[in-house]
């Protein structure tokens, strides 16, 4: 089919009348309100967690509010509740105006809204209860995962339906960003959420060890790309030109930017796993694509900033533009730093340190937060038919936020760098220069500064709440905003329609079909056979966990120990000296899910087994300060009281068997007797150290697990060493 035969609506006689319709502002208001509420909640959770880092007692000694549970609550609230709701609000507002059409279905809009808020509520409750999959940014358990999938499909139908109904032939670039967001997030979520339910709120990841890590960070990285970046870029391309009242600097660049970004982003995930047990070629692939990402990212940033060329006087006046300028600048900084952090030599220093935390907060506070504030300041006066209550207050919010970001990030960069260098320091005699706890204590002042920066940012957000509230009071809300446009003429092609032409006409059909084909075809057939086969142990001394250790591991996951502890010794001199033999891929074949972690607020635990006596762990978990004076680890006193839920053991063993873990047939029935036996021997040992505890306490299971971590390979080394000596 040649170009000339392309049907266009230009040049045909048009006898259509202007259509009158209404934009739905109510749904935008609802998502906007949710944005504000969950933004405040998410930031409060973050601040609370940040204070606990230097003052663990701030958790009040309660299980639900310890760092290991607050941190997932904070990240989930900010990503999915704050930025999620802000994106939905911004997308629903702009999509209607860009498509010159009301949203496809009011009913779907509201199902989307309430469904998403119900998911958030369920997430908050379950995370605080310790119901978690233990995979960062994908902590929510399987029933919630299913709910997310359903609501996401509703969102997709509503969005594509609106696009079909559009009265504007051209799909403005922002819409492309929205489409990419929907498609990719759907895929990521489904793939990463493959898990086998054990009970109503407990599941094990389908993947194990290295495989799980790879899938998780493929997801994690792309969640940043397609949940925190593409929708917000789409918003930038709509709200920035609107607020500045001038077209985007280069529309062509915006289109190139979009296609380049989505084709490159998806390959960068492995840069989260440099120097780990992941194969080298996969690591290199991640690095190369991460570096390439700089081009489209900066294309987008420059396009945004250049849009304001000759309009800087407006920036001085308008708080909306002020927020956007800083947001886009932060986007540029974060996307410059990201590729830098993907370089292996830089990553060797930055990884596991607070550097990463500083990096994500440039993106989170600067890019996502400020864009969300900007669109709220833009939309609320428009929808309430008035102007902003106080520009001055908004400007104060802007400065508080900006200074807050600086006071947040700079100390953390410093802390990350300093601590990492301390970890790597040796004395002239070749000994490690610093104990782990020394390095923690030296950066405590930075942790305090960081929480001050965060507080300023939060105070700024309260300014916004007041300002928006006053604006709403002053205006009157327009739930249905009248609009008019010419209908879009659909002309049938006289040409013979080839099947691919028909499908191409309907991009959504194509997208959805491909998605379904890939998801079903790929997974149901490939995953089980592939993965279980490749989990054949390569290290013979690596054995499945005993039932008690398995239960202990689930407590480790429940308490979110992975938010502070890694289990991955990288092949560096200092790490091997500090922790022991570096980690091998074969060690993790029974780890559903993997627990490598991403942050070392505490020391690595990959070689913890056998390092201390059981009694040390008992006392340390009860009150870390007694064993490690000045420790910032929270106390886990309730583990000494809680009874272990042994009723769940058979189901857990059976689930593991389904995932290919080689427990003997019918072992599920006998597992609990093995469990009690092991527990009894631990309590007997504790008794010798004058600690009296019952065998059915959770602490016993946790100790069993801690004493197991990294031990199997030690047997292997001894045996190989023995063989070599022969």
């Amino acid at each position: 089919m040649t170009k000339q035969n392309q049907p266009t609506d230009y040049g045909h006689p048009v006898q259509l009348r202007t259509e009158h319709f209404y934009y739905d502002n109510s749904i935008v208001r609802a998502f906007g309100m949710a944005t504000v509420i969950f933004g405040i909640v998410g930031m409060l959770a973050g601040l609370w967690a940040a204070i606990q880092i230097y003052y663990p007692q701030a958790s009040l000694g309660l299980a639900p509010t310890t760092f290991g549970r607050m941190r997932p609550l904070h990240t989930n609230a900010i990503i999915f509740a704050f930025v999620g709701n802000a994106s939905f609000a911004g997308i629903y507002y702009s999509l209607q105006r860009l498509c010159k059409s009301r949203l496809f279905s009011d009913k779907l809009s509201w199902i989307h809204f309430w469904g998403w808020q119900a998911i958030i509520a369920a997430a908050a409750i379950t995370l605080l209860m310790g119901k978690t999959t233990g995979k960062e940014y994908a902590e929510l358990e399987w029933p919630i995962d299913i709910a997310i999938t359903l609501v996401w499909v509703i969102f997709g139908i509503n969005m594509f339906g609106t696009i079909f109904k559009r009265r504007e032939k051209h799909l403005y670039v922002a819409i492309w960003f929205y489409i990419a967001t929907w498609v990719t997030v759907a895929m990521l979520h489904i793939v990463n959420s493959f898990e086998i339910p054990v009970s109503f709120m407990k599941s094990y990841s389908w993947y194990a060890g290295v495989q799980d890590a790879l899938v998780q960070w493929w997801y994690g990285h792309n969640a940043v790309a397609f949940f925190l970046t593409t929708p917000v870029l789409g918003l930038m391309y709509y709200y920035l030109p609107k607020a500045a009242n001038r077209p985007v600097y280069s529309y062509r660049l915006s289109i190139i930017h979009f296609w380049a970004l989505i084709f490159i982003y998806i390959w960068a995930g492995p840069h989260h796993l440099l120097y780990t047990a992941l194969p080298d070629w996969a690591q290199s692939l991640g690095v190369v694509f991460s570096v390439m990402l700089i081009a489209p990212s900066w294309g987008g940033m420059l396009n945004g900033l250049f849009t304001l060329r000759g309009a800087w006087d407006k920036v001085r006046e308008d708080p909306v533009l002020k927020f956007m300028v800083v947001a886009i600048t932060c986007y540029g900084m974060a996307t410059f730093e990201g590729p830098l952090l993907s370089l292996k030599s830089v990553n060797a220093i930055s990884h596991f340190s607070d550097w990463t935390i500083a990096h994500v907060h440039i993106g989170g506070l600067g890019w996502n937060g400020f864009m969300a504030f900007a669109i709220l300041y833009y939309m609320v006066p428009k929808m309430w038919g008035t102007s902003l209550y106080s520009k001055k207050l908004a400007t104060n919010h802007f400065w508080l936020g900006t200074i807050g970001i600086v006071i947040y990030a700079v100390p953390l960069y410093w802390a990350g760098f300093e601590q990492s260098i301390m970890w790597k320091s040796f004395t002239p005699e070749g000994q490690l220069k610093f104990q782990f706890l020394d390095t923690v204590n030296s950066i405590k002042p930075f942790y305090i500064l960081r929480s001050i920066g965060g507080s300023l940012y939060l105070v700024g957000a309260f300014f916004m709440v007041y300002n928006l509230y006053k604006t709403m009071k002053a205006g009157s809300f327009v739930p249905n905003e009248p609009a008019e446009a010419m209908p879009l003429i659909k002309i049938k092609s006289e040409q013979k329609e080839y099947w691919h032409r028909i499908i191409e006409r309907k991009p959504a059909t194509l997208l959805v079909l491909s998605l379904i084909v890939v998801a079903i075809g790929g997974f149901i057939e490939l995953v089980p056979t592939f993965l279980i086969k490749s989990n054949v142990p390569t290290i013979t001394s690596v054995k499945p966990y005993t039932p008690l250790e398995l239960q202990g591991r689930d407590i480790y996951i429940r308490e979110g120990c992975y938010t502070c502890h890694s289990q991955m010794v990288r092949p560096f001199r200092d790490e091997v000296a500090r922790y022991g033999e570096y980690s091998k891929a074969g060690e993790f074949v029974y780890d559903h899910p993997f627990q490598w972690g991403s942050k070392r607020t505490g020391p690595d635990l990959a070689r913890e087994g056998g390092k201390y006596p059981d009694s040390w762990h008992y006392n340390h978990m009860y009150d870390p300060g007694t064993m490690s004076p000045g420790s910032i680890m929270p106390a886990y006193a309730w583990l000494l009281e809680n009874r272990l839920d042994t009723a769940s053991t058979p189901a857990k063993i059976r689930a593991m068997q389904k995932l290919g873990v080689p427990y003997a047939d019918g072992y599920a029935q006998n597992a609990n007797s093995d469990l009690m036996q092991q527990a009894d021997s631990i309590t007997a040992g504790l008794k010798k150290d004058k600690i009296n505890t019952a065998s059915d306490k959770e602490i016993v299971a946790l100790i069993a697990y801690l004493q197991r971590i990294g031990r199997d390979i030690k047997g292997e080394q001894n045996s190989t060493a023995a063989q070599l000596n022969k």
């Binding site: 790879l214 009157s476 905003e481 008019e484 592939f530 086969k533």
Partner: protein, 51 residues
């Protein structure tokens, strides 16, 4: 490391989906005019509500 193969298949499928979307958009002339769309979005607030 067989999961890499799965991820590759998925990533390539996603890329293929976007490629198809890209081809569709080029063929239907989405990108023929790279000037007016940028300006057009600025002129949509005609019918102002009276309050």
């Amino acid at each position: 490391m067989s999961v890499i193969i799965i991820l590759l298949i998925i990533s390539i499928s996603i890329a293929a989906v976007f490629l198809a979307a890209f081809l569709w958009s080029v063929k239907t002339g989405q990108f023929e005019d790279d000037f007016s769309p940028a300006s057009r979005i600025l002129f949509d607030d005609k019918t102002k509500p009276t309050n």
